[in-house]
């Protein structure tokens, strides 16, 4: 290598190109190579293979339901973080925070609506996604375990929604969670213990609100992110989306 070829003047001239290349990890190539690099050169996009089977693109096959569930989850994470800025998990303050969102915070009511409606929609979409997977036989070998991960995701989605239901601390929330947690106590022998563990007491109160809050904003989202990651990784490892056998 010749030292003379490195001059600061040239470096400044090439600055935009060099910064761009170091950021995208990409060098010029054929159109096809560049398209491929777009996917595998990006941490977030490389969960996808560079090429996918045409069947995976048919909207009438997946109906996009898994993807819709994922997008709703993303919307929930973003709107959830914003709602957290205004929320205190205290029986004294929680309800007042809700009223503030409605009347004092700019667009607070829209923010709350987004979080609420996305949560309901996600439960419905995950269930419909499961129906799609069933009716297309997509749970069969080699995708058995991804179905199992899916069932765990369904449960996590339900618990996320249920723990969030208590947080506004209004009559709807309080009595729905009272009814819901009573169901757990019907388990023989350990039912009451489980209910106690869930609520941090014998009744829905401050301890229950705090427990539901921690589960809702920390524990369950973390579990969901990990499971979704494994779910997507498995789709690739299992050979992409299921499709009819071709002769």
């Amino acid at each position: 290598m010749n030292d003379a070829t490195y001059s600061v003047k040239d470096a400044i001239k090439q600055l935009p190109t060099n910064i761009k290349q170091s950021f995208t990890r990409r060098e010029a190539g054929t159109a096809e190579q560049e398209q491929a690099a777009t996917v595998f050169g990006n941490l977030f996009l490389h969960l996808h293979p560079v090429r996918v089977h045409a069947n995976a693109l048919r909207p009438s096959y997946t109906m996009g339901l898994g993807l819709i569930s994922f997008f709703l989850f993303l919307i929930l994470v973003v709107s959830g973080i914003l709602v957290m800025f205004y929320y205190t998990p205290s029986t004294e303050l929680a309800y007042r925070n809700m009223k503030d969102l409605e009347f004092a915070v700019s667009f607070g009511i829209v923010l709350r609506n987004i979080h609420r409606w996305s949560a309901h929609a996600m439960v419905a979409m995950v269930f419909l996604h499961m129906c799609r997977v069933f009716y297309t036989g997509a749970y069969k070998a080699p995708r058995e375990f991804n179905w199992v991960i899916g069932v765990c995701l369904l449960l996590v989605t339900l618990f996320l929604s249920f723990t969030g239901y208590l947080l506004p601390w209004d009559q709807l929330a309080f009595w729905a969670v009272t009814v819901g947690s009573n169901i757990a106590s019907y388990m023989p022998w350990i039912g009451d213990k489980i209910r106690f563990l869930m609520l941090g007491g014998n009744e829905v109160g401050q301890m229950a609100l705090l427990r539901f809050y921690v589960m809702h904003v920390a524990l369950l989202p973390l579990v969901a992110v990990v499971l979704v990651g494994v779910h997507f990784w498995r789709i690739r490892k299992d050979g992409g989306l299921s499709r009819p056998t071709e002769e």
């Binding site: 996918v52 045409a54 819709i68 609506n113 409606w117 749970y139 069969k140 058995e144 309080f174 819901g180």
Partner: protein
């Protein structure tokens, strides 16, 4: 390294612009067939994904501008609502609980979860993968439809037909 071992079988051809990158076990996109049935992920798949994201976002925004999330009076542990209903996705279970606490609250939910978890290990036939409502899967499709319809009916009854004291009434 598997790659190094297989190299001589798939000898490199100087006239080709592609080469074998990796060998993986099992059925995968490229096994024993060229890239004929595949398309570039970027742009074909990802543009569609982005579009779908926009549609989902717009739909949620639209609904959120039109309808407000419910907020009742502040929680009052001394004064129960009548009826007190679980969130809609658990109302089907609550409906079953009103018939029998143990059956509806424990047995049926546990059976559903265990049944779902075991499903792919019980149904081992490879028939009908990748086809909606495959005619080879009449029994499985029928059973699952019965399950889905039962869930929907129970949720409907619990959510819309149950009034104060959990008595059946018309929703209007």
């Amino acid at each position: 390294m598997q790659l190094a071992r297989k190299e001589e079988i798939f000898a490199k051809d100087g006239n080709k612009t592609y080469s074998l990158m990796a060998i993986v076990e099992g059925e995968s996109l490229h096994v024993e067939r060229g890239p004929e049935n595949t398309v570039q992920t970027w742009p074909h798949l990802m543009v569609r994904e982005l579009l779908l994201f926009l549609v989902v976002l717009l739909a949620i925004l639209g609904v959120s501008l039109l309808f407000n999330a419910p907020l009742e009076e502040a929680a009052n542990p001394l004064h129960s609502t009548n009826p007190a209903k679980a969130p809609w996705y658990f109302v089907g279970i609550q409906e079953l609980v009103s018939y029998s606490a143990f059956l509806g609250g424990i047995l049926v939910p546990a059976a559903i979860v265990v049944g779902l978890l075991l499903l792919p290990y019980l149904d081992r036939s490879p028939k009908g993968i990748g086809v909606w409502f495959s005619a080879d899967r009449k029994l499985a499709n029928t059973l699952f439809t019965v399950f889905v319809v039962a869930m929907v009916v129970l949720i409907f009854i619990g959510q819309f037909l149950r009034g104060p004291n959990w008595i059946i009434r018309w929703p209007w």
